[in-house]
C-alpha cells in the first residue's frame, strides 16, 4: 500500500475521473446584465411580476447587505468574489420569438433533465414515485404531480408561483426562520432570490410521495440564489429531497440559497440533500461556491425535523443546516457525510438551538478528506435558560485519506440550563491498515476494500436517506473514493 508507483497510478486514475454531470445545454437563456444594485433588485422583482411587499422585502435586504462585510471566520480560503461580475437572473424558459407559453418546455431543457435522470413527464415516473420541481438557473421549468398533490390539499410549486397564488402563506412565513439580517449570504439571497420550491402540507396530511427539487446551474457567468420554503402544518408529514449539479467550467459560480422550514405541532419533516455541484478539476480550477443558509424552526410541540446531507460536490462549501427547537418536546436530527477531494474545501455542520422543554437533538457527522482538501465540522449546541430537560448527542468522525489533506473539528457548546445533558465525541484517524489487510487477504482488491470500509463508515448516515437517494449517494461516494488511498 505504500508503494509510490501504485500510488501515483491510482491518483492519476482518480483525477481522470470525469464529473458525470459536467455537460452544458445549449438553450436560449435570457440573462440580465452583470452587476448588482437596487435597479437589479427591482428588475428581478419586475421580471417575476412580484407584488410591492416582496419588492420592499428585497430592497430592505439589499440595503442591509451592502453594509455587511464578507464573513471571514470559517476555516476556508475563499478567493475574493466580485459580486458585480455576476448576473443575478437567468431565465432559460423565455423563447426567442413567438408567443410565450408556460406549459411548453424547450425540448433542450427537457433533454437536460432526462440526461440528469430526472423525469419531467409524470408517465415516466415510477409508480408511487417522486414529485419533482425542476429549477434551471433562476427559473422553475416544471413541477410534476401538482394535480395529484392538490387533491390532498398539498401545495407544491415554485416560490414564484406561490407568491402569485398563495401570497398570504408566503407572506406569513417568508423570512420568519432566516431573517434577511441573519448573515451576509442570507442578506444577499433575500435581495436577489429566484425560484426555489414552496411546499405547504395542510393539517393532518401525510404527503403520499417524496417531494423533490432538482437544481441545475446552466448559464455561464451567473449564480443561483434559490429560496425554498416548507411549511408543515399540525400533524402532517413530508419527506423532501434536493439534488443539484452544474456544468464543468473554469470560472467559479456562486450558489447562495436559503431553505426555511416551519414545523408545527406534531408535524414531521425529513429533508435530504445530495449535493453534487461541480467541485472543480484536479488542480482546483473552477467549481461552485456553495454558501447556503438552511434552517428549520420547530415551532410546534413534539415536532420533528431531520436533515440528512451527502456533500460531495462544490469547490467551497459553507453550510450549516440547523434546527431551532422551540416547541416543547421537539426533536432535531442532523446526519451528514461530507467528502472532499482534490482542492475542495468544506466547512459544514449544524446548529441545534434548544429553547423548548424536553427537546432532543442528535448530530452524526462523518467527514472524509482526500487529496489536498480541507474538511471541517463546525457545530453549535446551545441550551437556553428555559430548555429544561434538553438532551443532545453529537458524534463527529473524520477520516483522512492521504497525507496532504486536513480534517478539523470545531464544536461549540453553550449550556445554560442545569438539567441539560450534552455530549460530544469526535475522532480523527485514517483507514485502519488492519481492516485493509483483512480485506486484501480475502481477495478483495484495494479499491474495493476502501469503498467497503468508507461505505461502512458512512452507513449511519446513508441509511437515513430515502431509497432513491441512498443508491445515488453510495455510487457518488464510491466514485469519489475509489483509488484514493495509497
Amino acid at each position: 500500500m505504500k508503494t509510490g508507483d501504485k500510488d501515483n497510478g491510482l491518483v492519476r486514475e482518480l483525477s481522470e475521473e470525469k464529473y458525470r454531470f459536467g455537460f452544458t445545454t445549449d438553450v436560449h437563456t435570457d440573462i440580465i446584465d452583470r452587476g448588482l444594485d437596487e435597479n437589479t433588485v427591482r428588475l428581478i422583482s419586475a421580471r417575476k411580476g412580484e407584488p410591492e411587499w416582496l419588492l420592499e422585502f428585497r430592497l430592505k435586504a439589499f440595503r442591509h447587505w451592502i453594509q455587511m462585510p464578507m464573513p471571514q471566520w470559517a476555516h476556508l480560503d475563499i478567493p475574493p468574489i466580485d459580486y458585480q461580475n455576476i448576473s443575478y437572473y437567468a431565465d432559460p424558459t423565455v423563447k426567442k420569438e413567438g408567443p410565450k407559453s408556460t406549459d411548453e418546455i424547450d425540448p433542450q431543457v427537457m433533454k437536460t433533465f432526462d440526461k440528469l435522470g430526472i423525469p419531467l413527464e409524470e408517465r415516466l415516473a415510477l409508480s408511487g414515485g417522486v414529485a419533482v420541481d425542476a429549477v434551471m438557473d433562476s427559473v422553475s421549468v416544471k413541477t410534476t404531480f401538482k394535480q395529484t398533490l392538490a387533491e390532498k390539499g398539498i401545495i407544491f410549486c415554485s416560490i414564484g408561483e406561490a407568491v402569485k397564488n398563495h401570497p398570504e402563506l408566503v407572506r406569513e412565513y417568508l423570512g420568519s426562520v432566516v431573517n434577511y439580517r441573519d448573515n451576509f449570504f442570507a442578506a444577499l439571497n433575500s435581495a436577489v432570490f429566484s425560484d426555489g420550491s414552496f411546499v405547504y402540507i395542510p393539517k393532518g396530511v401525510r404527503c403520499p410521495m417524496e417531494l423533490s427539487t432538482y437544481f441545475r446551474i446552466n448559464a455561464q457567468g451567473t449564480g443561483q440564489f434559490e429560496r425554498t420554503l416548507i411549511v408543515a402544518d399540525d400533524d402532517s408529514y413530508v419527506s423532501y429531497l434536493e439534488g443539484c449539479t452544474a456544468p464543468m467550467r473554469d470560472e467559479n459560480q456562486l450558489h447562495a440559497a436559503i431553505v426555511e422550514i416551519v414545523v408545527l405541532d406534531r408535524a414531521q419533516v425529513k429533508y435530504s440533500t445530495v449535493q453534487n455541484w461541480y467541485p472543480g478539476d484536479e488542480n482546483g480550477r473552477g467549481g461552485v461556491y456553495n454558501f447556503v443558509t438552511k434552517r428549520g424552526l420547530l415551532r410546534g410541540v413534539d415536532s420533528r425535523l431531520s436533515w440528512t446531507q451527502v456533500e460531495t460536490g462544490s469547490a467551497i462549501t459553507w453550510k450549516y443546516p440547523s434546527c431551532v427547537l422551540q416547541g416543547d418536546g421537539s426533536q432535531g436530527e442532523f446526519y451528514s457525510v461530507a467528502l472532499t477531494n482534490n482542492w475542495q474545501q468544506a466547512d459544514t455542520g449544524t446548529k441545534m438551538i434548544h429553547l423548548g422543554k424536553n427537546t432532543r437533538s442528535t448530530v452524526i457527522s462523518k467527514g472524509i478528506s482526500a487529496g489536498h482538501s480541507q474538511n471541517s465540522y463546525r457545530g453549535l449546541v446551545k441550551v437556553g435558560r428555559n430548555a429544561t430537560g434538553a438532551r443532545n448527542y453529537s458524534q463527529c468522525d473524520s477520516l483522512l485519506l492521504g497525507s496532504s489533506c486536513g480534517a478539523h473539528t470545531f464544536p461549540y457548546m453553550d449550556v445554560n440550563n442545569e438539567t441539560a445533558v450534552v455530549e460530544h465525541e469526535a475522532t480523527t484517524s485514517k483507514i485502519s491498515e488492519d481492516q485493509l489487510f483483512y480485506c486484501n487477504q480475502r481477495g478483495i482488491p484495494m479499491e474495493q476494500a476502501i469503498g467497503l470500509i468508507v461505505n461502512g463508515y458512512a452507513k449511519d448516515v446513508l441509511n437515513r436517506l430515502p431509497m432513491e437517494f441512498a443508491v445515488e449517494a453510495q455510487r457518488l461516494l464510491s466514485v469519489s473514493l475509489e483509488n484514493t488511498v495509497g
Binding site: W73, N417, S429
Partner: protein, 445 residues
C-alpha cells in the same frame, strides 16, 4: 485603562521600570511595546477569548508597583500551602516582587532557583538565552503587556542530568492593602535528562480587588521531565490571568495541572509545542465554581514533530451563578505522523443559573494520527444518588461523594502521593463550601 493608557504609563515610567529590573529584561521591552500597540488587549470578538473579556478586566484602575515598594503581605497565608509529608523548597512572592526563600539547602549544584531579577543580573547569559523567546507576543494577549512591565519573577534552572527530588514551590501572595496589578514572570529551564517538579500556589485573601498576570515560559530539553502544579486559592475579589508556554524537545515529558479551587475571575492558558519527536504532554485541570466566579481555561497543543502524545482532561463543577469556559485546540501539522491526541472536558452544572461553554477543537493536517476529543455537560447521576440514599447515605453526602469522585479522576493523575492526598482533602473541603484553608493557618478549624 485601555491599551493606550497602558502604553502611556509605560512611556511615562520607562526609566523607573528599567531601574527596577535588569538589562536582560529591559532589552525585550521595545518589541513588547510594539506588539502591544499593534495587537492590543483581546475583547470577546477574538475567537480565543469569546467568553472572557480581558480588555474589560484590565480596564479597571489598577495600581502597579513600578517603584518596587516593599508591600506587606499576610505571612500566615503562606502556611495554607504546606503539604503534610511533602517537604518542598519554598519561595515567596508578594505581588510581583520576589521576597525570600525558606532556606537554600538541598538543591544540587548548578541548580538556580530564585528571583528572576537577581538571576538575570548574576546569570545574564542563561536568562537572555531563554527569556522572552517562547511567549508569543504577536497576538492579542497579555504576553506583550507582561513583558513591558515585568521587573521580577521566579526562575528555576536545572542543568543536565540533575534530578531534583524535592519539589520546588513558589507561593504568590497579594498585598492586603492596595488595589494592584501584579506582572509576574516565570522562567523554567530543564536541561537534557533533568527533572523538576514545580508547585505554583497562588494565594490571596486580600479584601481589596487585585489582579495578577503571570506569564511562564518552560523549556524542556531532550529526555527531560517537568511537572507543574498550578493551584489557585484566592478570593472572590481576585482576578487572575496566566499564560504558560511550553517547548518540548525529543522524548521529553511534561505534566501541567491547573487547579482552580477558589477564585474570582480566572483565565488560564497553556500553549505547548512539540519541537522534537517522541515527546508527551499531559494537561489537566479542575475548576470548582460558585457564586459569581468565572474560570476560563484555554489550551493549545501544537504537534510539530512526529510520534508525540498529548492528553488533556478538564473537569468543572459549577454552582451558583458561576460561569465556566473551556476551549482546547489541538493542531497536528503536516508530517507530524503517528500523533496521538486525546482531549476530554466534562462538566457538571448544579444550578439553573450556572453556565458552561465548551469548545474542544481539532485541526489536523497529517493522516497517520489518532485524535479524539469529547465534551459533556450534565448533572450528577440520579441513579447513583438514589442508590446511595437507599443505602443510608444522606443526599448531601451522596452528592459530595459523586462530585469528589468526578473531580478525583483529574487528581488521581498526579503521581506524587502526598500532594495527591492533600489536594483531595482541599477539594473535599472546598466542595463542603469551606474556604479551603488548611490546618496550618487555623482559619478552617
Amino acid at each position: 485603562m485601555s491599551e493606550t493608557s497602558y502604553s502611556e504609563i509605560f512611556n511615562a515610567n520607562r526609566s523607573l521600570i528599567d531601574a527596577g529590573s535588569s538589562p536582560v529584561m529591559s532589552s525585550l521591552r521595545d518589541r513588547a511595546y510594539g506588539c502591544h500597540s499593534k495587537y492590543g488587549l483581546p475583547g470577546t470578538k477574538v475567537e480565543e477569548y469569546l467568553h472572557t473579556d480581558l480588555s474589560q478586566w484590565l480596564s479597571a484602575d489598577w495600581g502597579m508597583n513600578l517603584g518596587r515598594v516593599a508591600l506587606p503581605v499576610n505571612p500566615s497565608e503562606a502556611f495554607r500551602c504546606s503539604v503534610p509529608n511533602l517537604s518542598t523548597q519554598m519561595h515567596f512572592m508578594a505581588g510581583d516582587s520576589y521576597i525570600s526563600k525558606e532556606g537554600h539547602t538541598g538543591l544540587p549544584d548548578g541548580v538556580l532557583a530564585g528571583s528572576l531579577l537577581e538571576l538575570s543580573r548574576s546569570h545574564a547569559d542563561i536568562v537572555s538565552r531563554y527569556l522572552g523567546t517562547l511567549a508569543d507576543m504577536e497576538k492579542p494577549g497579555i504576553a506583550a503587556l507582561d513583558t513591558m512591565f515585568m521587573q521580577d519573577g521566579f526562575m528555576v534552572y536545572v542543568p543536565r542530568n540533575v534530578q531534583i527530588e524535592k519539589p520546588v514551590q513558589l507561593v504568590s501572595l497579594m498585598p492586603d492593602a492596595v488595589q494592584m496589578l501584579a506582572c509576574r514572570r516565570i522562567l523554567v529551564v530543564v536541561e537534557q535528562g533533568a527533572s523538576l517538579r514545580l508547585l505554583l500556589c497562588d494565594h490571596s485573601s486580600a479584601k481589596k480587588p487585585c489582579m495578577s498576570m503571570q506569564v511562564a515560559e518552560c523549556f524542556v530539553a531532550d529526555n527531560a521531565s517537568l511537572e507543574v502544579y498550578d493551584l489557585e486559592e484566592t478570593s472572590a475579589t481576585n482576578t487572575r490571568v496566566t499564560e504558560c508556554y511550553v517547548s518540548q524537545q525529543r522524548d521529553s515529558r511534561v505534566m501541567i495541572q491547573n487547579l482552580s479551587l477558589h477564585n474570582g475571575k480566572t483565565r488560564n492558558s497553556v500553549h505547548s509545542c512539540f519541537k522534537g519527536p517522541g515527546a508527551s504532554i499531559e494537561v489537566n485541570g479542575i475548576a470548582i465554581l460558585d457564586g459569581g466566579q468565572h474560570v476560563d481555561n484555554f489550551t493549545f497543543v501544537d504537534h510539530e514533530a512526529t510520534d508525540c502524545q498529548s492528553r488533556e482532561l478538564f473537569k468543572y463543577v459549577l454552582d451558583g451563578k458561576s460561569t465556566g469556559s473551556f476551549a482546547g485546540k489541538v493542531l497536528v501539522r503536516p508530517d507530524a505522523q503517528r500523533t496521538s491526541s486525546q482531549q476530554t472536558n466534562r462538566n457538571i452544572c448544579l444550578t439553573p443559573e450556572a453556565r458552561m461553554w465548551t469548545q474542544p477543537q481539532l485541526e489536523i493536517y497529517a493522516d497517520d494520527v489518532k485524535c479524539s476529543h469529547g465534551a459533556t455537560v450534565g448533572q450528577l447521576d440520579e441513579k447513583a444518588l438514589f442508590y446511595m440514599q437507599q443505602r443510608g447515605i444522606p443526599m448531601k453526602e451522596a452528592r459530595m461523594l459523586l462530585m469528589l469522585a468526578f473531580l478525583g479522576e483529574v487528581i488521581d493523575r498526579i503521581p506524587l502521593d502526598p500532594l495527591r492526598s492533600r489536594l483531595l482533602g482541599l477539594v473535599e473541603l472546598r466542595l463542603r463550601h469551606g474556604q479551603s484553608r488548611c490546618e496550618g493557618c487555623g482559619v478552617c478549624k
